[in-house]
C-alpha cells in the first residue's frame, strides 16, 4: 500500500545488523507498506532486494528466512565464523557452494530453533567448507570469494520492474567515486551487489558490467567498473537521498551503532571486527548527524537552504550485552530480528492508516533525529562534531546555506576533475583486475 506522502527508507550497511533490518522490514511487510524509495549500502542491499524482489517467495517468507544463513548455536561456540556466508578464497568456492546445496539436509522453518537438526545441517556445511581446496596466498586480494548466493535469493527482473526506486551504493575504483546503482534499466545486478559487499580484505574488488556500445544518440559506451563496498564512504545510504531524491517528504533510518562498536573487545576475533567497524561507525554517526541537523534547520528556513527529506530514526534497543551484536549465531540473528520488528511496528501502524501530512508529522515527531535521538548520551560523538568544529555552520545556518547556495556574480563554477586523478587503478601495475 503506497503512502499518502512520499517516504523512503535507508538500510545502512553493517553486516551484523542484517537480521535487525530484516525484522524492521518484516513489520512494514506485515502492513503491506510500499516505500517510494529504498536506499541501501552493503548488506542493507540484500534486505532491500528481498523486500522488492524475493525469488520464489513472498517478501515475508524471504525476510523471515534470513536467520537460516546464520550458524547453529552449538557449532558457533566452537567455530565462531559464518562459513555459510563467507566462502574460502579461490576458484573452487562456487563449485563447492553448489555441492553444498545438493547435499541432503533437514528442512527447518526459520523460526524453529531445532538445535540438533540445525547442528546437523551446519555440520555438513562445515565439512564442505573444510574440504573446499584453499588457494589463499599472500598475493591474494581477499580472504574470501563470492558465490552465487544472491542469485538464489533475488529475482533481479522482479526488482527492476518494481515501482519502488531501489538504490545500492558501491565505490568505483575506476572513478574513485561512490556510484548509486538503481533498479531502473537493470542497473542492479548480482555483480553490482557482490561489489557492494566487497569490503577490502574480506572480498576482492568485483568487476561489474562489460565494455560495450549502447545504442543511442549519441552512442554511449557503457563501460565496466571495478567495485568495492560503498559502506566505507557512505554507510548511511543517504547519499542517494540527497543527490537524487530530494522530493521525498521523509526518510526512515535505523539508529547508528557507534556505541556498540566503540568499546573494549572481548577476544581477538571481536577486536578484528571492531577494528573494521570503528571508523565506519564513526562515519555513519557523523553523516547521520550532519544530515539530520541540516534537514531540520533547512526545513525551517526554506530556500535557498537545501531541500532535504526529513530524517526519522528508529531507536535500536539491544539487551545490555550488546557485544553479542557481532555474533553470527542463529540465536543472535533471531533475537536481532525480533528487536528490529518491535522497533518498526509502531511506525508501520502509523503508515498503515495512510495519514494526512499533519497527522503523520505529529505521529512521527518524536522520531525526528535532530530533535530526539541526536540529543541523547548515546550520540555524544556526532553532537560533539556539530557543536564543536562545525559550530559556526549550525549556529548561523541561514548565513551558511545562503552563502554557499548563491552564485556570486562574475564567479566561475569549477566543474573540472582533479588533474592528478588517474583513470585506471591498475595503471602501471601490470596486473589484470579480477
Amino acid at each position: 500500500m503506497a503512502n499518502t506522502l512520499p517516504i523512503g527508507i535507508v538500510l545502512s550497511g553493517t553486516a551484523p545488523a542484517m537480521t535487525l533490518m530484516s525484522g524492521v522490514m518484516l513489520a512494514f511487510a506485515e502492513y503491506n507498506i510500499e516505500f517510494e524509495v529504498i536506499s541501501t549500502a552493503a548488506v542493507g542491499g540484500l534486505v532491500g532486494m528481498l523486500y522488492l524482489g524475493a525469488k520464489g517467495k513472498t517478501r515475508e517468507e524471504a525476510l523471515r528466512a534470513l536467520p537460516n544463513l546464520f550458524v547453529s548455536d552449538w557449532l558457533y561456540r566452537f567455530i565462531p565464523v559464518n562459513f555459510k556466508v563467507f566462502h574460502k578464497y579461490g576458484p573452487y568456492a562456487t563449485a563447492f557452494y553448489q555441492l553444498r546445496k545438493s547435499l541432503p539436509k533437514f528442512d527447518i522453518a526459520p523460526d524453529d530453533p531445532s538445535p540438533l537438526r540445525r547442528f546437523a545441517n551446519d555440520w555438513v556445511d562445515l565439512w564442505a567448507t573444510m574440504l573446499t581446496p584453499p588457494s589463499l596466498g599472500t598475493t591474494s586480494n581477499g580472504l574470501m570469494s563470492h558465490v552465487p548466493l544472491i542469485d538464489d535469493l533475488v529475482d533481479f527482473k522482479l526488482l527492476a520492474g518494481h515501482q519502488t526506486r531501489f538504490y545500492l551504493n558501491a565505490f568505483s575504483l575506476y572513478d574513485r567515486r561512490l556510484k548509486l546503482y538503481d533498479n531502473r534499466d537493470n542497473m542492479v545486478t548480482a555483480d553490482v551487489y557482490n561489489g557492494a559487499q566487497a569490503m577490502f580484505m574480506l572480498f576482492p574488488p568485483v568487476k561489474a558490467g562489460s565494455d560495450q556500445l549502447v545504442t543511442g544518440v549519441p552512442p554511449v559506451k557503457a563501460g565496466s567498473d571495478l567495485l568495492v563496498t560503498g559502506a566505507s564512504h557512505d554507510p548511511t545510504a543517504l547519499q542517494a537521498i540527497w543527490m537524487k531524491e530530494r522530493d521525498l517528504w521523509g526518510v526512515l533510518a535505523l539508529e547508528p551503532f557507534g556505541k556498540h562498536f566503540w568499546r573494549a573487545p572481548t577476544d581477538i576475533y571481536d577486536a578484528f571486527q571492531l577494528m573494521l567497524m570503528t571508523p565506519i561507525a564513526s562515519l555513519q554517526e557523523i553523516m547521520f548527524g550532519l544530515y539530520g541537523e541540516t534537514e531540520q534547520l533547512s526545513s525551517s528556513l526554506g530556500p535557498p537552504a537545501p531541500v532535504l527529506p526529513r530524517l526519522y530514526m528508529m531507536q535500536v534497543l539491544l539487551n545490555p550485552d550488546s557485544t553479542r551484536m557481532l555474533n553470527w549465531s542463529y540465536e543472535n540473528a533471531v533475537a536481532l530480528q525480533k528487536i528490529g520488528y518491535r522497533m518498526a511496528l509502531p511506525i508501520a501502524q502509523v503508515l498503515d492508516g495512510r495519514p494526512d501530512r499533519a497527522t503523520l508529522e505529529s505521529a512521527l515527531a518524536s522520531y525526528r533525529y535532530a530533535s530526539s535521538l541526536l540529543e541523547t548520551p548515546s550520540h555524544s560523538r556526532p553532537r560533539q562534531v556539530l557543536r564543536g568544529i562545525f559550530d559556526p555552520v549550525f549556529s548561523d545556518f541561514e548565513r551558511f546555506a545562503t552563502r554557499i547556495n548563491t552564485e556570486p556574480q562574475g564567479r566561475r563554477i569549477n566543474t573540472e576533475t582533479r588533474p592528478d586523478r588517474p583513470s585506471d587503478p591498475d595503471q602501471g601495475r601490470g596486473r589484470a583486475s579480477q
Binding site: P235, L283, M287, G388, F390, V393, R399, I404, G428, R429
Partner: protein, 414 residues
C-alpha cells in the same frame, strides 16, 4: 623563520600558522618529508595538531630526542631518519611486514627488541640514508630477533600486537613541554564516547600509545590507573582539524586554541592514488583500515573549508590551506607498503610538496589570489569528485566556490 619567507607567509597566510598532520600509515613519511622541508626552509608553525600516524612526525618536528648521529636534536635530521622505520626491500619483498614497528603480542617482544638493539651496536648505521648493505644487515637482525621472539597470542588476547617503548628513544618529552609552540594529539575516550586531545602538557608515553591504540592492533589503553580507556583518535577524526578544538565549548575553543591562529595548513590525504585493487592480502588489510579513514578525513576537511569560506569574511576562524602531494603514477599501488623504497617515495613527495609551497610563497610574482587559488582548501574543491558529492548534501556549494578573491587577513572582503 627566514625573514623573507616569514614576511611572505605572514602576508599571504597570516602571522600565526598551524599545521595539521592527519592519520593513516602513509602519512608518517609524507608528513616527515614535508615538515623537514618546512624546517629547512624556515617556515615556522606555532601549533601542530596530529592524529594517528601523524603523531610521530609532529613530535619529531617539535621535540626530537638527541641520538647518535643527531646529538644536537635537530628536527630536520630526526625527520629524515623516519624512513629508517621501513624495511629493506630485499627483505620486504619476501616478508611484507614491518617487524620494526609492529611487535608480536606478549611479554617477550620487548627483551627481544633490546637484544636486536644490542647486536646492532656492533654494526652501527646512521639514522638516515646509510649505506644499503648496512641497512640490509640491520633489518635482517631485526627480522631474526622478531621471528624467534615467542608470542603468547591466543583467541582470548585483546590485541595482536604489543607495545615496545621505542617512542622514548625518539622524543624528548621535557623539551616538548618546554616548547613555546603547541602540540595536540587526538584520542577517543570510550567511557565518555567522545574525542579528546592530549596537549604538550598532558602527553606522556602512555598517552601517546593510548592515542594510537587502534582496535585489534592494540587494546584500549589507560593513561592512569583509574582513568578512562582510550583508543585511537584517527578512527574518529583522522583529519585532526577537530583536535585543536579540544573538547571545550566551541566558541571558547575557537578563541582559545585555533582561534589564536590565522591559518591551518592541512597536509593532504593521499587519494585517489590510495584506492586500488590490492596486490596482496596484507595490502588489502591496510586498505580496509584506510578506506573509511581517508573518507572521514576528507569529509571533515571539506566541510570545514566551506565553513572557512562562509565565516571568514571578515576572518573569524583560522583559514584552511591544503598541501597537495603528487606521486608518480607507477607508485600508485605501492603507497601502503612498508618497504624502504616506498618510504623514500612518500618522504620525497612530502618534501617536494613543501619545498614547492615555500617557493610559491617566495615567488616575486605571487599574489594573494594565486596562493589562494592553489592552496586555499575550498578553492581546491571540485564538483565532480568524491568530496563534491558529499558537499552536495548542503545544496550546491559550487555556486559559491572558485575564483573568489579573498582579502588579506584582517581586512574586509570586497
Amino acid at each position: 623563520m627566514s625573514a623573507t619567507l616569514s614576511a611572505r607567509a605572514s602576508t599571504f597566510l597570516g602571522p600565526r600558522l598551524g599545521v595539521i598532520v592527519s592519520g593513516g600509515a602513509p602519512t608518517l613519511h609524507l608528513a616527515a618529508g614535508a615538515l623537514c622541508a618546512f624546517q629547512e626552509k624556515g617556515l615556522r608553525f606555532e601549533a601542530v595538531a596530529a592524529s594517528g600516524a601523524g603523531a610521530l612526525p609532529g613530535l619529531l618536528y617539535l621535540a626530537p630526542a638527541p641520538r647518535p648521529g643527531n646529538l644536537t636534536a635537530d628536527p630536520a635530521v630526526a625527520l629524515r631518519g623516519v624512513v629508517n622505520m621501513n624495511i629493506h626491500d630485499a627483505i620486504y619483498d619476501l616478508i611484507p611486514n614491518n617487524f620494526k614497528v609492529f611487535f608480536k603480542y606478549g611479554p617477550f617482544s620487548d627483551p627481544f627488541y633490546r637484544l636486536s638493539q644490542f647486536i646492532k651496536r656492533v654494526v652501527p648505521v646512521p639514522d638516515s640514508y646509510g649505506p644499503d648493505h648496512q641497512r640490509l644487515v640491520h633489518d635482517w637482525i631485526d627480522f631474526v630477533t622478531a621471528a624467534i621472539a615467542p608470542t603468547t597470542l591466543t583467541y582470548h588476547s585483546p590485541s595482536v600486537l604489543t607495545r615496545v617503548q621505542v617512542i622514548n628513544e625518539l622524543v624528548d618529552w621535557d623539551a616538548l613541554r618546554a616548547s613555546p609552540r603547541d602540540f595536540f594529539l587526538n584520542t577517543f575516550n570510550i567511557e565518555t564516547q567522545s574525542l579528546q586531545a592530549f596537549t604538550k602538557l598532558t602527553l606522556t608515553t602512555d598517552a601517546f600509545y593510548a592515542a594510537l591504540a587502534m582496535p585489534w592492533l592494540y587494546p584500549p589503553t589507560r593513561v592512569s590507573t583509574d582513568g578512562p580507556r582510550y583508543t585511537e583518535g584517527a578512527s574518529h577524526d583522522p583529519s585532526a582539524i577537530e583536535t585543536m578544538l579540544e573538547d571545550g565549548k566551541p566558541t571558547d575553543a575557537f578563541a582559545k586554541t585555533i582561534g589564536g591562529l590565522d591559518a591551518l595548513l592541512v597536509l593532504d590525504t593521499i587519494p585517489p592514488d590510495l584506492w586500488t585493487d590490492p596486490q596482496s592480502i596484507y595490502e588489502a588489510l591496510q586498505l580496509a583500515i584506510m578506506d573509511p579513514i581517508v573518507t572521514l578525513a576528507e569529509n571533515v576537511a571539506a566541510l570545514y573549508s566551506l565553513q572557512d569560506m562562509v565565516f571568514n569574511e571578515p576572518p573569524s576562524i583560522p583559514k584552511l590551506y591544503r598541501l597537495p602531494f603528487q606521486f608518480p603514477r607507477w607508485e600508485g599501488g605501492k603507497l601502503l607498503a612498508w618497504s624502504y623504497s616506498t618510504a623514500r617515495t612518500l618522504w620525497d613527495a612530502g618534501y617536494d610538496a613543501a619545498k614547492k609551497f615555500c617557493a610559491d610563497l617566495l615567488s616575486p610574482s605571487a599574489s594573494q589570489n594565486q596562493i589562494d587559488a592553489k592552496y586555499r582548501y575550498f578553492r581546491t574543491l571540485v564538483r565532480d569528485s568524491r568530496e563534491g558529492d558529499f558537499l552536495s548534501m548542503f545544496g550546491d556549494p559550487f555556486k559559491g566556490l572558485a575564483n573568489i578573491v579573498v582579502p588579506p587577513p584582517g581586512q574586509p572582503s570586497p
